[in-house]
């Protein structure tokens, strides 16, 4: 504790240098935390778990919602397959089929079955009844509403579809917070797809063990049909369909690594400069009886503090930025909400602290390895 106080006072000695170092670390850690947020959001969206019980039925060999067209009457056939719990037909309309940071996705669903299929949806503003009663009513996900500044009663238009916001929703599923749910017949007509045609079916099964069996059964059922299907677990569907987006996010891993090395170099350089500027003072402390270990600990604490303070500013800044901007990465009609998470915050601070520690080890050794008399005469 005594050494910590001494190290903290040392950092105030050259305030400009300390502030510049902290600013540099903050910038690096902002980048690192941003990359980690993307990776984490992607991992949540694509990594399957034992709780996953949802299948997506898509048109075989189609990858974009505008080309996947399935007859709505498949619904009753799928419902009859043993192990199927719930099925919902979905028509999807998007403003941009390619990769975009501001994708607007309409999901046309039978309004009366939405709550039954997805009980995790909660209306936080407006009302579900308004949605049921208005044919052009839309339940808008919170992220989308924040991004577009929408509130109940507002009208908005995208890709020729005019809707009225009936409610703002939150959901257990991050995807739901980036879409607007509308009435299926309304969207089928507004998007000129035509009644009776849907983009996909989302199927809930009794248990995750049955995912493979049921998906095989569905595809087998429609194999000889005019519109054959390709059924996959929801997360695998996301991972395969949004391949380009995943590759792009995968590439950002290198940016994160670059940021880590930049922070490491910056802190090491700053601590080395601190140590070089205090050769004589370090020798004085050793003359007073401070051991090499105590001197090293002071130097390391300074490095860790620089890393930690800069990390705190950078990581909290990145988390606030993502929270404020509510970014959603979209591709092929799928949306990936870039959501700040506590695990990224904690790991970011841990990395910042570890980098500070690592960066100060060599300067700490350098500070204590020189012969005392030589340092006193420096």
């Amino acid at each position: 504790m005594k050494l910590l106080i001494l190290a903290m006072k040392n950092l105030t000695r050259n305030q400009l240098r300390s502030l510049l170092t902290i600013a540099g670390v903050a910038a690096g850690m902002f980048l690192y935390a941003s990359v980690q947020t993307m990776q984490h959001s992607l991992s949540v969206a694509t990594q399957s778990s034992a709780d996953d019980t949802t299948l997506v039925v898509y048109r075989e060999n189609r990858f974009c919602p505008s080309t996947s067209r399935l007859p709505e009457h498949y619904l009753s056939t799928i419902k009859r397959i043993p192990g199927v719990k719930e099925v919902i037909p979905i028509q999807i309309a998007v403003n941009n089929c390619g990769a975009s940071l501001d994708v607007i996705t309409f999901r046309g669903v039978p309004p009366e079955t939405l709550k039954q299929y997805n009980p995790g949806i909660t209306v936080i503003d407006g009302s579900f009844d308004d949605f049921l009663n208005r044919t052009d009513g839309a339940l808008v996900g919170q992220h989308l509403a924040e991004r577009r500044g929408l509130s109940p009663g507002d009208k908005f238009e995208v890709v020729g579809v005019n809707v009225t916001v009936a409610g703002i929703i939150i959901s257990d599923s991050p995807q739901d917070e980036n879409v607007a749910y509308v009435h299926l017949p309304f969207l089928q007509q507004a998007s000129r797809i035509g009644l009776g045609i849907v983009t996909q079916f989302n199927v809930k099964v009794d248990s995750s063990d049955q995912l493979q069996t049921i998906s095989d059964k569905i595809d087998e059922t429609f194999k000889a049909d005019q519109q054959p299907t390709n059924t996959r677990p929801e997360k695998a569907f996301f991972a395969e369909t949004a391949k380009q987006m995943i590759e792009l996010i995968g590439f950002t891993r290198w940016l994160g690594l670059g940021a880590v090395f930049a922070v490491l170099g910056l802190v090491a350089n700053a601590v080395l400069l601190i140590v070089r500027g205090r050769v004589k003072e370090t020798a004085i402390l050793q003359t007073l009886g401070f051991s090499r270990l105590a001197i090293g600990v002071i130097v390391v604490i300074e490095g860790v503090l620089l890393g930690l303070i800069g990390g705190l500013v950078g990581v909290i800044g990145a988390m606030s930025f993502f929270k404020l901007k509510a970014f959603t990465l979209g591709n092929e009609g799928l949306t990936l909400a870039l959501t700040p998470s506590s695990s990224v915050t904690i790991s970011g601070l841990g990395v910042a602290m570890a980098l500070g520690l690592l960066a100060s080890l060599y300067p700490a050794w350098k500070a204590t390895s020189r012969p005392l008399v030589e340092s006193l005469n420096a």
Binding site: L3, Q286, L288, F290, S291, A294, V373
Partner: protein, 232 residues
Amino acid sequence: MNPHISVKSVTKAFTKGKTTITPLENLSLDVPRGEFLSLMGPSGSGKTTLLNLIAGIDTPTSGQILIDGNDIARLTRAQLTRWRAKHVGYIFQLYHLVPILSAYENVELPLLLGKLGKSERKKKILSALDLVGLGDRADHRPSELSGGQEQRVAIARAIVHDPELLVADEPTGDLDRESADSILNLLDTLATKHGKTIVMVTHDPKASASAHRALQLEKGQFIEEGHLLTHA
């Protein structure tokens, strides 16, 4: 009675490039407890080297340095550090106070190494500052003090952990006459009234005259023993 410091046949040599330099050669010296000894001599005579050896900052190439009968020349670097923390107070020519710390915090530094509680540390620090006449300057930073006051703080830092041995390297070298006299009086008080053994290196004959005994070094050898003063 055994001397407090006994330097026996000490030689210190080191190499600089291809040249071997021997600042001290086969030197011996006894210093009784409570003596205020001054070491004089031209630059390169070996006086600071001898001071550093006595203070445990450096180690001899050969010979013994007995402090209270213990040969510190045989201690490792870590053992010497612990020994210095307990037994030695060092006073530098340029004070070398930590600029971001107050006088109080500078004096506290040697005590941070021990296990004393905050209140015990405070008592010792204020007592040391009072002894050097700076009890009312505890909160001042070095930049707010005069050179003489800074050196007094440095002396308070050197005595706060109550070492038996004080070593001073040109303690008045950077001070005006008045401040220098005041510091020398303080060192004399520490030796005569508090029983500290003081070894001081100086270029200043007037400063040397304040000591109980003065030794002249040249080329690593004592060439003349000076006055033996008796102080009241």
